[in-house]
C-alpha cells in the first residue's frame, strides 16, 4: 500500500506526494530472491510517541572513570518537582556499565519488566542513538526516524525503512505487515505490497447490510470496483485506495478467526495482558494472536511485521521521578513486553520474534520546571528470546557535562571516533536488516539505508555489525 509523505508536504512543502519507491527499483527477480530469506522470523516495532526522556530511562548510578553521575545530578534536581532518580531508587533495575566510562547504569525503576528481560539475556540497551543535525520538532523528527532519512534524500521520500524492506521482499498480493492502529505507520509505508491496520481482530469483519441474501453479488461488485482502482498509476491515491480496499476485503475473511483461536487456546496469557490493562498491553496481545495464528498455520494469514505505538511521552511538565507520569509509561511498556515474551516463550517462538523500541527524540538534561523540553540522542531497546540476541549495553551514554552541551542545551551527535561517539539509529536498523532479516550490507546501503552524502560529522561509515544480534 502506498502512502504519500504527507506530513512533509503539508508542513514544509519540500517533498512531494507520490515520490514513491516504485517497483522498478526492485524489479530484478535476482534481487527479490536474494532478499526473501526471513525464514520463520518476526519483527515488532514499537514507537514511544512524544519524545521519551532518555536521560531518565538509562541512568548513570555512579561516575565510573568520568563524571556522568555528577553531571546528571547537576541538572536534575531532587525535591519538589525534581525528577532526579537516586541510586537507592535504581537499585532494583541495574543493568550493565557504560562502554565508555564504565559507569554503572540502571533502567528507570518503572522498567522493572525490561530489567527481568535483561536478566534473561533478552534485552539489548543501545545508548545515545540519534543522527546529525537533529530536529527538535516532533513531526520532523518522527518523519526522520520512520523514513530513516535525516537529510531528506529524494529517492527515499514517501517510504519507511521497514516499508522499503517489505517492498524489496514481498509482492503485490502479499500482506506481510500489520499495524495495530487506525493507520499505517510511516515506517511501514511503501507502494509495492499491502500492510493492514487493525485495531482489534475480533471486530475486523466486513460489514454488509443483512437484508436478503445478496452478499456474494455485492462482494463481487466491490472487488471489481477496487480492482479497477488498484490498476491506477503506481503511487496514486487511486491505486492506494484500490489495494487497501482489496486487501481489507481479503483479510477480513481470515484475520477475525485468530482472535477466537487465541482466546480459546491461551486463556491465562490472554488474561495476563488484561491484568496490565493498558493500551500497549492490548496491542501486543493482538500481535500475539496473529503470531500464534501464523506459527500454527492458520489459513490466509502470513504477516510477520508488526507495528504499534504508545503515546504520552511529551513530558514538558509533571514528568515525575520514581513515581508519576514517566514511571507509569515505563511500567506499562515494560510489563507488557515481559508478558508478551512470556507468551511467546510458551508458544515456542520467543527466539523468532525481535522487538525494537524507539522514540523520535530524547529530552534535555536540564529540567524545566517539573518537566523537560525536547532533546537530542536517546536510548533504543532491542528485545528477543535469549538465543535471538546478545543481551547487554551497547553504545555510549551521551556526554551531559555542562561545558560540552550544545548552545541549545542538548548533547552533541558525534559520528567520528570519540570517547562519547554517538550511535546513529541507522546502524541499529541496519544491524536488524542484516542479521535478523538477512539482507546483505550492499543491498541495504543501496536501497534501504542510504549514507549521508556529506563529509564530517555525518553518517558516512555504517556499522551493521553492532553485536547485539548474532
Amino acid at each position: 500500500m502506498a502512502i504519500t509523505r504527507r506530513q512533509f508536504i503539508r508542513r514544509t512543502g519540500l517533498a512531494t506526494a507520490g515520490t514513491l519507491l516504485g517497483p522498478s527499483l526492485f524489479a530484478s527477480p535476482f534481487v527479490r530472491r536474494a532478499f526473501a530469506d526471513l525464514g520463520d522470523r518476526y519483527l515488532v516495532v514499537i514507537f514511544l510517541d512524544g519524545g521519551n526522556d532518555g536521560q531518565n530511562t538509562v541512568i548513570p548510578v555512579d561516575d565510573g572513570s568520568g563524571t556522568l553521575r555528577a553531571d546528571y545530578e547537576a541538572h536534575r534536581f531532587a525535591g519538589g518537582g525534581g525528577i532526579r532518580l537516586t541510586p537507592a531508587q535504581l537499585a532494583s533495575t541495574l543493568v550493565g556499565t557504560d562502554p565508555n566510562t564504565g559507569a554503572q547504569l540502571a533502567l528507570h525503576p518503572g522498567f522493572i519488566g525490561l530489567k527481568h528481560l535483561y536478566d534473561q539475556g533478552s534485552l539489548a540497551v543501545i545508548q545515545g542513538c540519534g543522527y546529525p543535525e537533529y530536529s527538535l520538532s516532533h513531526d520532523e523528527a518522527r518523519t526522520i526516524w520512520q523514513s530513516a532519512n535525516p537529510l531528506r534524500n529524494g529517492t527515499l521520500a514517501g517510504t519507511g525503512w521497514v516499508g522499503r524492506h517489505l517492498a524489496a521482499t514481498y509482492g503485490g498480493s502479499q500482506i506481510p505487515g500489520v499495524c495495530i492502529s487506525d493507520e499505517i505507520g510511516a515506517d511501514f509505508r511503501q507502494s509495492t505490497t499491502s500492510v493492514l491496520a487493525i485495531n482489534d481482530l475480533e471486530n475486523f469483519g466486513f460489514p454488509w447490510d443483512g437484508y436478503g441474501s445478496d452478499e456474494v453479488a455485492k462482494a463481487a461488485a466491490f472487488s471489481s470496483l477496487y480492482a479497477s482502482a488498484a490498476g491506477g498509476p503506481v503511487g496514486s491515491t487511486q491505486a492506494f485506495l484500490g489495494t487497501a480496499g482489496a486487501a481489507t476485503l481479503t483479510s477480513t475473511n481470515s484475520y477475525p478467526a485468530l482472535h477466537g483461536n487465541y482466546v480459546a487456546d491461551r486463556p491465562s496469557f490472554n488474561q495476563a495482558y488484561a491484568d496490565i490493562d493498558r493500551s500497549v498491553a492490548y496491542d501486543l496481545r493482538e500481535v500475539a494472536k496473529i503470531i500464534y495464528g501464523v506459527s500454527s498455520g492458520a489459513p490466509g494469514v502470513t504477516s510477520r511485521f508488526f507495528r504499534l505505538s504508545n503515546g504520552g511521552y511529551d513530558t514538558h511538565s509533571d514528568q515525575g521521578g520514581a513515581t508519576g507520569q514517566q514511571y507509569d509509561l515505563h511500567r506499562e511498556v515494560g510489563d507488557s513486553l515481559e508478558a508478551f515474551y512470556a507468551d511467546l516463550t510458551d508458544m515456542g517462538v520467543a527466539d523468532k520474534v525481535l522487538t525494537v523500541v524507539w522514540s523520535e527524540f530524547s529530552r534535555r538534561i536540564e529540567q524545566n520546571g517539573s518537566g523537560t523540553d525536547h532533546g537530542s540522542q536517546g536510548p533504543m531497546f532491542v528485545i528477543g528470546g535469549p538465543t535471538a540476541l546478545n543481551g547487554g549495553v551497547y553504545g555510549n551514554h551521551p556526554d551531559i557535562h555542562e561545558d560540552r552541551l550544545e548552545n541549545d542545551g542538548n548533547t552533541t551527535y558525534r559520528q567520528s571516533a570519540h570517547p562519547y561517539r554517538s550511535t546513529d539509529f541507522r546502524d541499529v536498523f541496519g544491524t536488524i536488516l542484516k542479521h535478523w532479516l538477512n539482507m546483505s550490507q550492499p543491498q541495504i546501503l543501496s536501497n534501504i539505508l542510504i549514507p549521508d552524502p556529506i563529509a564530517g560529522e555525518y553518517w558516512n561509515v555504517s556499522n551493521f555489525d553492532m553485536g547485539f544480534l548474532p
Binding site: T4, R6, Q7, I9, R10, R11, T12, G13, L14, T16, A17, G18, L20, L136, S137, H138, D139, E140, R152, C179, S181, D182, E183, L196, A197, I198, N199, F206, P207, W208, D209, Y211, G212, D214, A217, K218, A221, F222, L225, S228, A229, G232, G235, S236, T237, Q238, F240, L241, A244, G245, T248, S251, T252, H316, N368, G369, D373, H374, N407, D408
Partner: protein, 498 residues
C-alpha cells in the same frame, strides 16, 4: 491563471458547493442559485455568509462533540463551517489534554476556542493568530500557562512558527527559523494565564522583562539570519515590553520573507488552503513547480501577502481553474483528494436527508452505534485531534481499519429501515425502470457521478441486474438491491474522494 469572470456550469456550481461546504444536494444546488453566475460572483455569494457564532455546548466530551456534529448536519452556513474546520486542524487543540490538566473547565475552554475560530474564520489571519495565542484552551494546551520568566517554556513558540505560520522550511528547502528564535520568542509569551471562565490575562509578575534577564538572555531579538530582516533581525520589544510583545512577535512573523523573497506565511497558508480545497499536487517535479506557481498566483490575486484576508485568498482559490479541474473520474490525470471522515459522515447524511437519533446520536434504525464511536473508528474526533499537528490528510486517512469504519457507517445508513429513516424515494425517482437510469439516479443522489468511470458504472448496472431486471415497485427488490446499490456506491473507491 484564475478567471473570476468564467461562468459556472451546473457541474462547476455543484463542485464548488461540494468542496466549499459538506454536500451538494439538488436542493442545495437550486437554493444557492449560482449556476450561470461568474466564479467571482458565486464565490462572493458563498463567502459573504452572515457570520454565525455557534458555540458547541454539552457538559462532557461526547455531548459537546455530538452537539457540534448535529450543527454541521443542519447548518445553513456550511462554507463558514468548512473554514472553521480548516482552522481547527491548523490550530489543533485537543480536549484530552485539557481534561487531564483542568477537568472542570475543559469543555468550556474548547467551546470558546471553537467559537473564536468560527467567528474569525474568513477574517484577517494575523488577527486570528494573535487571538489564538491568547486563547485559554491554547494557553493550556501548549503550556503557555506554565511559561514562566524563570525558565521560558518553548512549546507554544515552536508550534507558532512550525505549524501556525512559517513552517520549518520554505519552498526552496531552507530553514525558516533557528532554535535560538524559539528560545527568544518563548520569552514574549511568558506570563499569559487564564481563568476557568475562559478569559485569559497577562500576569506581569511572571513575565520576562529585559531589566531582569537581558544579562543572561540578551536582547529580545529574533530572525538575525533568516526571514530577510537583515543582520540585526528584529526586536520584539520594539513596541514596548509586556503584554504587547505577543502581538509584536506575530507582526514580525507576518513580515518574514523566504529565500525567494516571498512572504513566508502567505505562501504556506496558501499552500495549505489549496491542499484543503483542491487537493495535493501530483508529486512530479513539474507538478510541484506548477503548485508553487499556483500558490504565488492566488496570493497575488488576493493580495493575501499584505492584507492577510482569508476571504480574499479563498475567493482566489474558488476562481482558479485548478479548483474546477479535479471534478473528473479517477484515471483522467487528476489527483483526487480523499474525503475527511467528517466529510464522509456529514456529507452522506446531508445528501440522504437523514438525522441523528437518541442521546448518543446514532443512525436511526442502524446498529445504534453512536456518532462519536463512528468518528473515532474512522479516525477523526472533532475537538480532539491526535496532536498539535492536527490530522494527517489524504491517503493517511485510509487504512484497512478506517476503511472498515467507513464501510460500517455506509452499512448503518442503508440498514436504517425502521420507520423509513433511509428513504431512497426522497432522493430519487422511483418510477425508473432502466438499470442505467437507476444507477445514474443513485450516483446523482450521492453526488458522485463525476467520479465514476463508465466501467465502474457498468459494474453497478451488472450488480442491479444480477437477479433479473430491476423493479423499484417491489418491496424486496428495493430493500435488497436498491439499498445494496447505495451501500456499494458509498463503499466504492470513487466515493472516498472528491
Amino acid at each position: 491563471m484564475g478567471d473570476q469572470n468564467s461562468v459556472l456550469t451546473q457541474a462547476d456550481a455543484r463542485h464548488l458547493l461540494r468542496r466549499a461546504g459538506f454536500s451538494a444536494t439538488r436542493k442545495e444546488l437550486t437554493a444557492a442559485g449560482i449556476t450561470g453566475q461568474t466564479r467571482g460572483a458565486a464565490a462572493d455569494k458563498l463567502l459573504n455568509y452572515k457570520i454565525k457564532t455557534f458555540k458547541p455546548g454539552g457538559k462532557d466530551q461526547q455531548k459537546q462533540h455530538d452537539s457540534l456534529l448535529r450543527y454541521l448536519l443542519v447548518t445553513k452556513t456550511p462554507v463558514q463551517e468548512k473554514l472553521t474546520l480548516f482552522w481547527h486542524d491548523h490550530f489543533a487543540t485537543g480536549i484530552t489534554k485539557l481534561l487531564a490538566m483542568n477537568y472542570g473547565a475543559a469543555t468550556k475552554l474548547m467551546a470558546a476556542q471553537n467559537k473564536l475560530l468560527r467567528t474569525m474564520a474568513r477574517g484577517d489571519m494575523r488577527a486570528l493568530v494573535k487571538a489564538i495565542g491568547k486563547d485559554a484552551a491554547m494557553i493550556e494546551f501548549l503550556d503557555t500557562v506554565r511559561n514562566d520568566k524563570s525558565i521560558p517554556n518553548e512549546n507554544y513558540a515552536r508550534e507558532l512558527m512550525e505549524l501556525f505560520t512559517l513552517g520549518v522550511f520554505d519552498s526552496a528547502g531552507n530553514p525558516n527559523y533557528e532554535q535560538q528564535d524559539i528560545v527568544q520568542i518563548a520569552r514574549a509569551f511568558t506570563g499569559w494565564r487564564y481563568s476557568d471562565n475562559g478569559k485569559s490575562y497577562f500576569d506581569e509578575g511572571a513575565h520576562d522583562f529585559n531589566a531582569e534577564f537581558s544579562g543572561d538572555r540578551g536582547a529580545k531579538r529574533i530572525f538575525t539570519t533568516v526571514g530577510q530582516f537583515g543582520p540585526g533581525g528584529r526586536l520584539f520589544d520594539a513596541n514596548g515590553e509586556g503584554a504587547i510583545e505577543i502581538d509584536t512577535v506575530v507582526d514580525i512573523i507576518f513580515e518574514h520573507r523566504d529565500t525567494d523573497g516571498k512572504n513566508t506565511v502567505a505562501r504556506r497558508t496558501a499552500r495549505r488552503l489549496l491542499e484543503f480545497y483542491v487537493g495535493p499536487d501530483d508529486g512530479t517535479p513539474a507538478g510541484k513547480a506548477a503548485r508553487l506557481a499556483l500558490i504565488d498566483d492566488v496570493v497575488a490575486e488576493s493580495s493575501f501577502d499584505t492584507t492577510f484576508s482569508v476571504q480574499a485568498l479563498v475567493r482566489a482559490i474558488f476562481c482558479n481553474d485548478a479548483f474546477y479541474a479535479t471534478a473528473q473520474p479517477f484515471g483522467l490525470g487528476v489527483t483526487k483528494s480523499v474525503k475527511w471522515p467528517i466529510d464522509f459522515a456529514i456529507g452522506s447524511m446531508r445528501l440522504l436527508g437523514m438525522k441523528f437519533a437518541g442521546s448518543n446520536k446514532y443512525i436511526p434504525g442502524g446498529s445504534y452505534t453512536g456518532i462519536l464511536t463512528h468518528m473515532e473508528n474512522m479516525g477523526q474526533i472533532l475537538l480532539d485531534p491526535p496532536s498539535v499537528f492536527g490530522w494527517d490528510w489524504e491517503t493517511s486517512w485510509l487504512s484497512s481499519s478506517t476503511l472498515l469504519a467507513r464501510y460500517n457507517f455506509a452499512r448503518d445508513i442503508v440498514a436504517a429501515r425502521g420507520g423509513g429513516r433511509f428513504r431512497p424515494d426522497k432522493v430519487m425517482d422511483m418510477s425508473l425502470t432502466d438499470p442505467g437510469d437507476i444507477v445514474d439516479a443513485v450516483l446523482d443522489a450521492l453526488d458522485v457521478a463525476q467520479n465514476f468511470s463508465s466501467d465502474d458504472r457498468q459494474v453497478c448496472i451488472d450488480y442491479l441486474t444480477t437477479d433479473g431486471p430491476p423493479d423499484l415497485g417491489d418491496y424486496n427488490y428495493v430493500n435488497e438491491k436498491l439499498h445494496g446499490l447505495f451501500e456499494l456506491v458509498m463503499k466504492s473507491p470513487a466515493y472516498q474522494v472528491f
